[in-house]
């Protein structure tokens, strides 16, 4: 059954508790001032208002989320039905202490240790053609971060078709050991960026390595930051 996380009181309590745990280390004003010193007051203001949905919290999504949290992009909507698994550790931002836990919850915990003042919304659901409209309606910027080619195609088609005014960043082609130089960002339209090398498919013997996957995720995060700069 497809139950939105916000309807589950346990999830709301957990994130509030985590937020309380980490905001004792540094005040929001101090943190925001430090960030503004790094990237300027204007961009800092934009990051405070920006809302980004991250579809898939694996090698791409977890790394995109960390990059955006570090920039102080304040409203993150994390969507993934899956739990942390031993096969994740070679490239995803999870820790062995989180084995078996929902990725949404685990990643939220991690992000709050980076920027305790994030407003995180989670949905521990599988994204389908039927629920996309309801799930993604609140964010102007959508990040496609799935691992399966068919899911990528499905999400890109539905977002471009149903939400032509939103901004979509997707990634395809990051498997194997070829040079990271081949990971690029292509601006397909003003509203659609495609990152990756476009061709390196996950296949037998051609695995996923953190450097290449993180590079693709970095391209996505940077495209998102450019979009935020442009539209907020």
């Amino acid at each position: 059954m497809d139950l939105r996380d916000e309807l589950n009181p346990a999830n709301v309590l957990l994130s509030k508790r985590k937020q309380g745990e980490f905001n004792s280390f540094i005040s929001r004003e101090e943190l925001d001032e430090a960030l503004a010193e790094r990237h300027g007051k204007d961009l800092q203001k934009k990051f405070q208002n920006a809302k980004v949905a991250i579809c898939g919290l694996g090698g791409l999504g977890s790394n995109v989320a960390v990059a955006l949290a570090r920039a102080g992009v304040r409203h993150l909507h994390l969507i993934d039905f899956d739990q942390v698994d031993v096969s994740n550790f070679n490239r995803q931002q999870y820790f062995v202490s989180q084995l078996g836990k929902n990725k949404t919850e685990s990643l939220s915990d991690t992000l709050l240790q980076i920027y305790p003042y994030l407003e995180i919304k989670t949905d521990t659901v599988k994204i389908t053609r039927e629920n996309i409209h309801d799930l993604l309606k609140d964010e102007l910027i959508i990040c496609e971060a799935f691992d399966k080619a068919e899911q990528k195609a499905m999400l890109v088609e539905e977002v471009l078709r149903q939400f032509p005014d939103k901004y979509l960043v997707s990634a395809s082609g990051m498997a194997g050991k070829k040079s990271v130089n081949e990971i690029k960002t292509r601006k397909i339209t003003n509203h659609f960026y495609l990152c990756g090398d476009g061709v390196s498919d996950l296949a037998e013997g051609d695995g996923l390595f953190a450097p290449r996957v993180m590079a693709a995720a970095s391209h996505e995060a940077m495209a998102i930051i450019s979009i935020i700069d442009e539209i907020y």
Binding site: K148, R161, M174
Partner: protein
């Protein structure tokens, strides 16, 4: 002639489904735009392309 990803082909009066088949695309892994409008996958075998149409086919691969 139709233009597909910038190249010209002598196709006409065939469905998008057939075009993708001819060009060896994996139907489940593509997004198709015809004259700047997304064609939903469910319509690939109903929508046909005519002379002058411009198709963009984006292919996705696995891994992430």
């Amino acid at each position: 002639m139709v233009t597909i990803n910038g190249k010209k082909y002598d196709f006409s009066n065939i469905t998008i489904y057939r075009v993708l088949e001819k060009l060896n695309y994996n139907i489940e892994r593509v997004v198709v735009e015809k004259n700047e409008n997304i064609v939903p996958k469910a319509n690939y075998d109903e929508v046909s392309i005519q002379d002058g149409d411009v198709l963009e086919v984006i292919s996705f691969v696995g891994g992430g």
